[in-house]
Symmetry: C2
Subunit: 525 residues, 2 copies
């Protein structure tokens, strides 16, 4: 692989899933970017320091809600304009009876109304070090439970490998570690401690070769250790080149996923759906939100700004005057809104808008939890080389009657574009046909479907920004947005190195709030 | 390391924690033992086939409860004699107000009465493939949640390494994989797929060397990717020999633990304590149990048997006549009870009794969940080279007010014997002093303590059998016990290759029930 292709693939693989920050760090480490110095601590504002200053917050996603919460406590007068009827933006939990409106279709979700029956269509999991957003869960009393990212009983299926037959993650992990440890042993120093580490790392034999391991699990029920004389019968190991296979990068990712900074345990989820966080924010700042109010124009007005919005139910325009504006709209949306920004800012926004990733999720309500009962799969993710990329099993409601399977979570470009282009019914059929490779009889195992192609969701028009998409964009455009322009500040996941995560939205809001507070403090002196 | 020492260490390391079955399989694979053939399926008995046959079940642990549940449904007349006031045996959940009676001490547990405040003193976690016991959870509606076995934010501390300073599991895992993948790359074939697999496996650079990874996490809060200009600053990697260190086997185990067949995700726990399973069994078969009834003598009586027991509250003896006896008492207890067994059986029991492992758990109620708030630790296990071996953080009640920490879980011989010999107060002080190495100020961070030294718990006298303790014992004695003797059958964790797990108790009960049913069916013909 040419160096440039490798670099891009690395960014693709690590950047997309570890969060852009990871990829950026890799570049940073390689000395390609200046070392950062600033540190965005959660802001501690003096009570009443806002002194009634008017802040218009555009968008009631996590960034807007966070900003309103911080600022209003310090005596700022906040108004949030939100185009949707609901708060939360890309934190969106879909349940039976909901509608999914895309730019060219509408789905009615025919699921049972039940505590455990939901799809987190956007944000779904929280790494334990995302203490910005987890801090709000604590403050608001949002109950959390463990999210299973890595389940060794889950399946890995590639058409090009093992005759297309799915293997358990357990087996691939064990045999991969065994093969790699055995290779390493050949070059390892003759140090006893290192050798015993390698032996246990890979479950090697005394002679430092690998010949299979109970860690790989057992081929059949009869082989599993049990009572009486069932002592267990191991499987022969899979060879390293067999495991790597022709789609080795995707395979490697499947087997290294839970090692990533943003994906390793403990991962958490709010009990009952990610929007529990949004409901909690609504309780705190709901009175400041004007829902169904679509921002259509952004103007300067003296030292401040004027925001023109349209009431979506009645079509009536109104104007909001403000001393400061915190704009949290995704750049993909913002680029279509006329605004009195500097040319440099407008350029940055239009470049940024090109880098939104079109992720797709497809979900099925299943009439019974066959993955638990028949396959001993409790939560976690199966991987495939096919377009659906992943199948997620719910981390909650174990042994319940029904459950929701995420039948596709697509985060690589071509498959995501293919699925986005399809009508919902077509997507669902495609997801079933891919899923069949992992779970024979899949079509009869799953019930009503629902899907979200984020590029077609109004007011989002994409899943998240990927600053690496256009080489140099982070260095050229991000600082312009970060600097803001007069009364205008930008916050949201795109204004961080934790893109594609709520944490980025929270931290960018904290940073923006601090800057406004500093400015107000300087003026008051 | 000499081959024999290595073999024993391997058994120690893998056998104890992966369950004996794992170690046995390794030997088995090496051709040291005959390949097993029998398979213990859960028994499906014809309704009423028991035809009133009387079965005396000794012990209301998981094995006894399972046997009673199966047999009574098929028309057998079951009586369970249980010495304790409670059912469950080694499934024992301790809460505020409970007493812990050891052979030479009594503790009163001064914890708050609260749903989340408990210690699973014995069984604490369930691998998702333990479908015998999980099947009962499903049948009885016992709610399950995820148990966190592997948390990359947890700590690993060895006095002899890194100046005794704890490292995050995350950092050790990442740097270990990096170092091993880089070593492997030197001997790897020039195959592109294999090389890209190695690269992603270890997060290697293009040239297949390792120079640190975001997977290792960040040194300080300021280094973590965030908003504004915080793009993340990596740590220098730790070298392989530094990681392995002088206690390399214990270190390797800490870093490979969640790869083991019995310890890999998804792990589960019943909501509210492991004894939820026992309460469910009690609802099903409680009427058959005579609690506080200590078996003191086991006799033959015609073709059947007579069991003499003492009512522990009133000291009154009684006799129970039965056609069959299922004895589930731990061999460590059974060896002290006079019984009309064959000499071979008595020999097997006395050999078995020598192989019980003296595990110890120490737990603290903590007045606040500092591990979550201050250290971002949500569940999981920290490891140390010191006697306490492990600290467990609760997998439930996140962000709640208080919590119970397992401050020691000791499963290696010498430390376990040291802690068993101590009086409770001494143990608790020792656990605090070891814990201080991981969590500075620990003494002030933890509250009331409770501990269980299983070797000193009456009616258990040990934590679980380890058939590997005495070389050849599994081959010589296990078959004798498995064959039984006239009316006498043996069940319990020790009668399986899943020792140290409830699953072994369940499967051995299933096996025994099948054998009795077959015998009855043959007689009725
Ligand atoms: C598929 C997917 C998976 C994800 N997975 C995770 C995950 O597992 N964990 C995690 O933490 N994060 C995840 N994320 C990322 C997370 O959802 C986002 O980073 C975060 O929610 C973004 O918050 P925000 O406030 O920056 O933007 P948004 O949530 O997009 O908020 C912007 C708001 O502006 C509103 N708006 C748009 N246009 C207008 C207008 N003209 N007038 C008025 N209002 C307008 C929108 O309706 C919206 O409410 C995921 C996202 C997606 C799409
Ligand atoms: C520290 C520890 C950790 C463990 N961790 C796990 C885990 O995480 N997951 C897991 O699945 N398993 C675990 N186990 C193992 C599990 O608890 C046991 O394998 C299982 O509970 C054994 O069930 P049993 O019925 O075979 O024996 P027991 O539970 O010991 O049942 C025997 C019964 O006989 C009774 N009895 C004894 N003497 C007499 C007498 N003279 N007369 C009448 N009755 C008598 C006892 O009171 C007891 O109720 C652990 C065990 C320990 C000790």
């Amino acid at each position: 692989m040419a160096a440039e292709i490798w670099r891009r693939t690395l960014l693709e693989v690590i950047g997309r899933l570890g969060g852009a920050a990871t990829a950026y760090s890799a570049l940073n480490m390689a000395g390609l970017l200046a070392t950062p110095t600033a540190y965005a601590a959660p802001p501690v504002l003096t009570p009443a320091s806002g002194n009634g200053k008017r802040v218009a917050i555009l968008g009631a996603g996590i960034a807007g809600l966070t900003a309103a919460h911080c600022l209003s406590k310090a005596g700022y007068q906040c108004t949030i304009l939100e185009a949707r009827a609901r708060s939360g933006g890309r934190v969106w939990t879909i349940r039976g009876g909901d509608q999914i409106a895309e730019t060219d279709s509408t789905q009615h979700v025919a699921w049972q109304a039940h505590r455990d029956i939901y799809l987190n269509a956007g944000a779904a999991r929280l790494p334990s070090h995302h203490q910005g957003i987890l801090g709000y869960c604590r403050e608001f009393g949002v109950a959390l439970e463990v999210f299973v990212n890595d389940n060794r009983a889950a399946l890995v299926q590639f058409d090009s490998q093992f005759g297309g037959k799915p293997q358990t993650a357990r087996r691939l992990h064990a045999d991969l570690r065994g093969a790699i440890a055995a290779l390493a042993a050949k070059s390892a120093p003759a140090d006893e401690a290192v050798q015993s580490m390698l032996r246990i790392f890979g479950d090697l034999r005394r002679d430092l070769t690998y010949a299979g391991s109970s860690r790989a699990g057992y081929a059949a029920e009869d082989d599993v250790p049990g009572a009486a004389n069932r002592s267990g019968r191991l499987q022969p190991p899979l060879a390293l080149d067999e495991i790597a296979g022709p789609q080795s990068i995707r395979m490697a990712l499947a087997l290294c996923f839970a090692e990533l900074w943003q994906q390793s345990p403990t991962m958490l989820q709010p009990v009952g759906g990610m929007d529990a966080i949004v409901r909690a924010f609504d309780r705190a700042v709901g009175g400041m939100i004007r829902h169904n109010e679509e921002v259509v124009q952004i103007e300067r007005s003296g030292d401040g700004a004027r925001i023109i919005s349209l009431d979506r139910s009645r079509g009536r325009p109104s104007a909001l005057e403000a001393d400061f504006v915190i704009c949290t709209l995704p750049l993909s949306v913002l680029e279509h809104i006329p605004a009195d920004f500097s040319p440099a800012l407008n350029h940055a926004i239009s470049v940024g808008a090109k880098m939104y990733f079109p992720a797709v999720k497809v979900a099925f309500e299943a009439p019974r939890r066959w993955w638990e009962i028949d396959q001993k799969l409790y939560g976690g993710i199966s991987w495939t080389g096919r377009d659906i990329t992943q199948i997620w099993y719910p981390s909650h409601g174990f042994h319940g009657e029904k459950g929701v399977l995420v039948g596709a979570y697509i985060w690589s470009n071509d498959p995501a574009r293919r699925f986005t282009a399809m009508a919902p019914a077509e997507r669902h059929a495609a997801a079933i046909s891919d899923g069949e490779r992992l779970h024979p009889g899949y079509e009869r195992l799953v019930g009503p479907a629902a899907s979200v192609a984020w590029a077609k969701i109004p007011y989002s028009l994409g899943a998240w920004i990927e600053w690496e998409t256009i080489s140099g964009a982070r260095q050229a455009e991000y600082p312009t947005l970060l600097a803001g322009d007069g009364p205008f500040y930008f916050a949201g996941e795109h204004m961080s190195y934790v893109t594609a995560w709520q944490e980025g939205a929270v931290q960018s809001a904290h940073y923006t709030v601090s800057r406004i507070a500093e400015r107000v403090a300087a003026t008051n002196k």
